[in-house]
Symmetry: C3
Subunit: 213 residues, 3 copies
């Protein structure tokens, strides 16, 4: 998606919305730790752009999106700053944010798969690249907030990303019609994620109480 | 600064001092967590050289400074080790360290801008590269000490870096006399930082107590 | 080691075992934080492959091992998943795991030195590359588990890596017979690590109780 042609303007807009949404939820997390305004904007930008950056660094895919198009930095920082002013509203729009965050997860995942294909990665790496793009930003946010990453503890988040990536990659392998398939993948991923939230689907947990070595 | 010619020996010395100073303050943080001697030296080196390393990795600018010139690793490790032996003295020289740390912030910021220019980055990325170089080492230190990064919570630190970078970049854009401008930028950044410490200037904080989603 | 010829099949097998062992110990740490199954596998893979990945990114050595050979990802994830099923057994085999982990440390260290040589790094960087490869995965694990890294606090772990690297590099510098020397280095490193565990050798600690600045 990052290198999408002008005709993909819908995905382009979705991608901007996804960056803003992920930055805004990170800003709320920053507010819970009483960060200052600069910290809120930095945490927002790191969360929204960190997943794609980690993927690009691991694949050696330069330049990074936000280096080539600093507008993404501006959107992320603006989203975080708007959250400072509109925190109460943002919370009241909780459902809208869950949808936007889910859109972000799916759009980022597909973008990550695209980048991996561009560098001729094998299928497992395409899936992993999608997952890193969709999920690693939230891991960075939780590390910087001094928490065990939510991604490792609850909800179907990484799983949604993997299923989305598998579905997307299958279509690519079969050379199916790209726009149709992109839309189908998007709808599938979004539905899966929203159902997972609605019915509180969770992975089984591994609880181990053995003593530290 | 990293690729400075022999005539820039003043900046070269400042750069060594900055690496040592950042490593020494990291060593004190390590001592508060009772790290062992190897851990103190590692934390010192990661703090002093981490900001520049993250910048280089994000920009794809290889080889990294300390890979090309391992003397920087030695200076960082030596600074941390000296702190173990001289901890009481280091604390008593608190003011000197604040100055050295501020010098580090300003010198690292200018060095980061220089590297971004070398790879033909746009102005926003030049500023961001300077900020990452000046600030990211301290973020790594706080993550490794299991703290919410100080950078996000208090003091004008990132802001000093941004103002320094903007001032430096403006001069470059106007093709002003480099040595003079470098000195002016250095003086401005250092003064701003010391005033911020002296008068406890702070960014407003974003305090949000909404429940976790 | 990563690019070893078919004749090095012993080292190849050791390398697979080392990845599995490091992933399994990470899985136990994940279980102590009640992570879900996906989180356990992700933490295992990040721990087992993170050290080599950080080294490659810092040296600009692409593609990364697990990108070129995704089988390593599968081994790491499978090791972590097996631990979920066999946690009690894994704990009872504590000694076996200490040995496997030590093998991992030594094998990873030598592999890291090899990669640094391939990119014509200087001797200090060869040693540091070995140390990063051997130790950084555990640091990532501890950060993600929200702990101050064990590496910085206790046991001779980094030191074993440094001694192993120095011994290995000396032999290379003297153009000694590679297979013999590899075996000798392996035996030395493993013995050093097991002795350090058995007799609880530790580095002196730096305990500093000065107030936060």
């Amino acid at each position: 998606m990052w290198t999408m042609p002008p005709t993909d303007s819908v995905l382009h807009v979705l991608s901007f919305m996804a960056v803003a949404a992920q930055s805004m939820t990170a800003a709320l997390a920053a507010g819970r730790r009483s960060m200052d305004w600069a910290g809120v904007c930095m945490l927002g930008a790191i969360t929204a752009l960190g997943g794609g950056s980690i993927r690009d660094v691991l694949l050696g895919h330069y330049p990074l999106l936000w280096v080539a198009q600093p507008i993404y930095l501006a959107i992320a920082a603006a989203g975080a700053f708007a959250t400072i002013l509109l925190a109460r509203l943002v919370v009241r729009l909780n459902l809208a944010f869950l949808v936007l965050d889910a859109i972000g997860l799916v759009v980022f995942t597909m973008a990550g798969c695209d980048v991996a294909w561009q560098v001729d990665a094998s299928l497992p790496i395409v899936i992993v690249a999608g997952m890193i793009t969709g999920c690693a930003g939230g891991v960075l946010r939780d590390i910087l907030c001094n928490e065990v990453p939510l991604l490792f503890r609850s909800e179907l988040y990484a799983s949604v990303s993997v299923v989305t990536g598998l579905f997307y990659a299958t279509a690519f392998g079969l050379s199916l019609n790209p726009p149709v398939w992109t839309l189908l993948t998007f709808a599938l991923g979004l539905t899966f994620r929203m159902l997972a939230i609605r019915y509180k689907w969770e992975m089984p947990k591994f609880v181990f109480s053995g003593e530290e070595r």
